[in-house]
Symmetry: none
Subunit: 252 residues, 2 copies
């Protein structure tokens, strides 16, 4: 058994079962517990697992508490939100857009995840108020009532003063040529400002958004890190996006 094989095995176990017990794995694979512990230590150092006494847990526990999640949101958005929540690393900073899908992401964040959430949506703030370990930062400004988020010059300016590891953006249209679009110019500008402040930007797009285009462009494809959708990976448009080099994360 190669060392790399062992590591894969451990990661697989972690993903499938949500935990790894050093002793059990050692017995299963017929190797010493020391090796398992060494592997886990290395994986933890790379941020690929979370070391605990007796074994290890997945870094982002989102997968494990999938069950403890409420579903009032349409199934598609729920799936997309769960996949997006899994991208959030512990102790990282997340910029979260407004909208129902983003709200579902907020609800999907595991209660034991400690991180910072930056948002321009009072609704998102309200949803995360009772989360024990999330630090909240609200970007203020004129409230655009239709979508219940802060927009305009002040909000964009406030956004200039923050930085984050990840930005999760909702849009209303995802189209191969038109790019990512939304129905309001101010909102589009705000989304651009948010995306610019994060190292990585992923777009949340449940399947009904795929192929649609709204009036105002948010961002060109080059500026985002990837797309999170529940649409079939073999859907014509999704395939066109993939061939154009867009990273598409399929939520299922």
């Amino acid at each position: 058994m190669l060392a790399a094989e062992r590591r894969d095995h451990l990661l697989g176990l972690l993903a499938r079962e949500g935990k790894v017990v050093a002793k059990d794995v050692a017995a299963d694979l017929g190797i010493s517990e020391d090796s398992v512990r060494r592997d886990l230590r290395d994986l933890a150092a790379e941020g690929l697992c979370h070391r605990v006494y007796g074994g290890a847990l997945p870094v982002s526990p989102a997968v494990a508490d999938y069950s403890a999640r409420m579903a009032v949101t349409p199934e598609g958005k729920q799936k997309v939100a769960a996949a997006a929540a899994a991208l959030v690393q512990p102790d990282s900073a997340l910029i979260l857009d407004g909208g129902t899908t983003a709200l579902a992401v907020a609800h999907g964040l595991p209660r034991r995840l400690a991180c910072t959430v930056i948002t321009h949506s009072p609704t998102i703030v309200a949803a995360l108020l009772d989360h024990p370990r999330i630090e909240l930062l609200m970007l203020g400004g004129r409230i655009f009532k239709h979508s219940a988020v802060a927009c305009g010059a002040a909000a964009v300016e406030a956004a200039q003063n923050v930085s984050a590891d990840l930005c999760l953006l909702g849009v209303t249209g995802v189209h191969p040529e038109a790019g990512l679009t939304t129905g309001d110019a101010e909102e589009a500008a705000m989304k651009r400002a948010l995306a610019a402040r994060a190292a990585d930007t992923y777009v949340l797009a449940s399947s009904e958004k795929i192929g649609a285009a709204s009036r105002f462009r948010v961002l060109p494809w080059e500026e985002i890190s990837g797309l999170i959708t529940d649409a079939d990976p073999h859907h014509t448009i999704v395939e066109r996006l993939t061939t154009r080099g867009i990273e598409v994360l399929t939520a299922s």
Copy 2:
């Protein structure tokens, strides 16, 4: 069962069922009550739960009692809020503080009233979202979870850029000598910043606040225009305030 798993299990139980009974969990998981108690003690130390005799409750005492407070607005606050709402002139700009009394004011604003509301409370924003004629401006910043408002340097700075005709301020203590007080220093500073940006500042104080004093002073008496309360105008303390030249508006 890993120790970390147990702790997660406890947090999940706490979130799902709203309580944990040490004895039951010990029986369910087949471990000693001591271990459960130890885990609960640790979680409580991290601020993730609230330890009580026999088990534990979700930590959100702040949030929980916030929503509890919100659910039933006592009659006194209701009266104060109604009197305060009556002060708001059409087409004026209003700075509205956070807190339950201020929220009652928001709900009490007539639907045909057109004005601008400036607030640092996401909850107030959410409450006014469906108001047809109110222009909303949210002051952003770090969210202070206990009272669900934006506080800190960024919020104070944002406040510097607005001006209003009227500011309605909630406090937790109204005392002849101590002045207007609240329980948190950041919050006190924020309230000061808000009051400074309005031509007139009125303090909302339902009767139970009269005569009380909290740790941090918000403003001295000279800096406010008046007090809105449902307390009896012949109440000793209220009379003392009146003789000191404070304008007291009695809500009834």
